[in-house]
């Protein structure tokens, strides 16, 4: 308990305090951990399950989703005053789709092997609820810069979960990390880890652990801390 109380008010550097008090930091942290899109809001689950059997694909997907979310939020925050409310959803979808096309073409041009494997799922970023959710919920009300930070936060929160799911899946399923073999050949491979059910179970375990950590932190705060 006392350990927790010390964590709340650390003897921090002035710069650290200033960063912690800034709206950017709070926006980022809300999306990254407190309201994490995957384990709090359960959005964007489709791609989280589909691409996580290889770490390389996961990393590419994370960067793609983060960039698309941040750029779409920022651009929509810039043009929202010029869009009539009735066509709002259409404009949002077109902005998101344009960024997804850019990402898709970039991958096809420079990372063809990865693009072949996760091709359809890159296109599906358009219907990823995280992106539309952030554009609709945050970028309609906030400044472009803050909307950009919010998108980055949501993307990083998504990446955190995806990487946690993908590491054990590739390690146990293929015995490698990012395509480099690390587990000796003598150990048997767990074929189930690269197949669909392991995606569900992996995600469920990550949700479980993260929620348990959050619940514990809440319980710590709820107790009469200082007195």
């Amino acid at each position: 308990m006392s350990e927790h109380a010390r964590n709340i008010a650390p003897p921090a550097m002035p710069l650290g305090l200033r960063i912690k008090a800034s709206p950017e930091y709070r926006t980022f942290k809300t999306q990254f951990w407190d309201d994490n899109p995957l384990f709090r809001q359960i959005l964007g689950v489709c791609s989280a399950l589909a691409v996580t059997n290889l770490v390389t694909n996961t990393l590419v997907m994370c960067v793609a989703v983060t960039l698309v979310t941040a750029c779409s939020s920022c651009l929509y925050a810039l043009v929202r005053d010029a869009t009539p409310p009735r066509t709002r959803l259409l404009v949002q979808m077109l902005i998101i789709a344009s960024f997804v096309i850019v990402v898709h073409l970039f991958l096809a041009a420079y990372m063809f092997a990865v693009s072949e494997q996760i091709g359809a799922y890159v296109g599906l970023i358009i219907t990823n609820c995280i992106v539309l959710g952030r554009v609709e919920a945050f970028a309609t009300k906030n400044r472009p810069w803050l909307a950009f930070v919010d998108g980055i936060g949501a993307g990083c929160g998504y990446s955190l979960v995806l990487i946690l799911v993908s590491l054990p899946r590739e390690l146990l399923g293929f015995g490698s990390l990012c395509g480099v073999a690390v587990v000796p050949e003598s150990l048997p491979r767990w074929n189930i880890m690269v197949m669909a059910p392991a995606g569900f179970f992996g995600l469920a375990v990550v949700i479980w652990v993260c929620r348990a950590l959050q619940l514990r932190a809440q319980a710590g705060k709820a107790r009469p801390g200082g007195k």
């Binding site: 589909a50 296109g123 059910p197």
Partner: protein, 196 residues
């Protein structure tokens, strides 16, 4: 792949290549609406309906318009607009023709626009170079597969209410575990037919 019969594709899309349990598409609404069997039936029917229409309309648009013009890279935008338009159209037709059906499906129809299962099946049918009938069969099968999975999960979730779940796993967490178990069950169908 011109040699696969559409009937095989229809069967495979429901069981061996279930769009939800094998390709993980349409998870968001899957978790959101599987609370009760009633809503699951409603949305499942709507998704099946729209996915058949989308496949039937998407194939000619892609192969007869985009490919000859060399505009394949616009496929995402075109498919999204097509789906949104179709959903709007279906909504209007149902409202005119059957008020009861509209009241039952009403709130679910707009949700389908952002259901990734529909966009996903369009992208898959293009990637796998299906013909027209194959695409329609794939669309119908995927819709039915989604329908089967969501109704089954809703049934299971109604039982979960009486079970003791760890607090951190309550709600969506346990739903994902149950869906994983269902995915394992569907793996039993694997190997019966292959469509790619």
């Amino acid at each position: 792949m011109p040699e696969i019969s559409p009937f095989v594709i229809l069967f495979a899309a429901v069981f061996t290549n279930n769009i939800l349990l094998v390709y993980f598409l349409g998870m968001c609404s899957f978790i959101a609406v599987s609370n009760t069997t009633q809503t699951a039936l409603g949305l499942g029917a709507a998704v099946t309906f729209v996915s058949v229409l989308t496949a039937a309309a998407g194939w000619p648009v892609y192969h007869l318009v985009l490919v000859p013009l060399g505009l394949e890279y616009l496929q995402f935008i075109v498919f999204i607009v097509l789906i949104a338009g179709l959903v709007q159209f279906v909504e209007m037709v149902i409202e005119r023709k059957s008020q009861t059906l509209y009241d039952n499906l009403g709130i679910f129809l707009p949700l389908i626009t952002v259901n990734c299962a529909i966009l996903g099946l369009c992208l898959f049918m293009v990637n796998w170079r299906y013909g027209f009938l194959q695409s329609v069969a794939w669309g119908a099968g995927s819709g039915l597969g989604w329908f089967v999975a969501v109704v089954a999960l809703a049934g299971l979730r109604q039982k979960i209410r009486f079970s003791k779940v760890p607090p951190a796993l309550e709600g969506p967490g346990i739903t994902i575990v149950v869906a994983g178990t269902m995915a394992m069950a569907f793996m039993g169908f694997a190997g019966m037919v292959a469509i790619r």
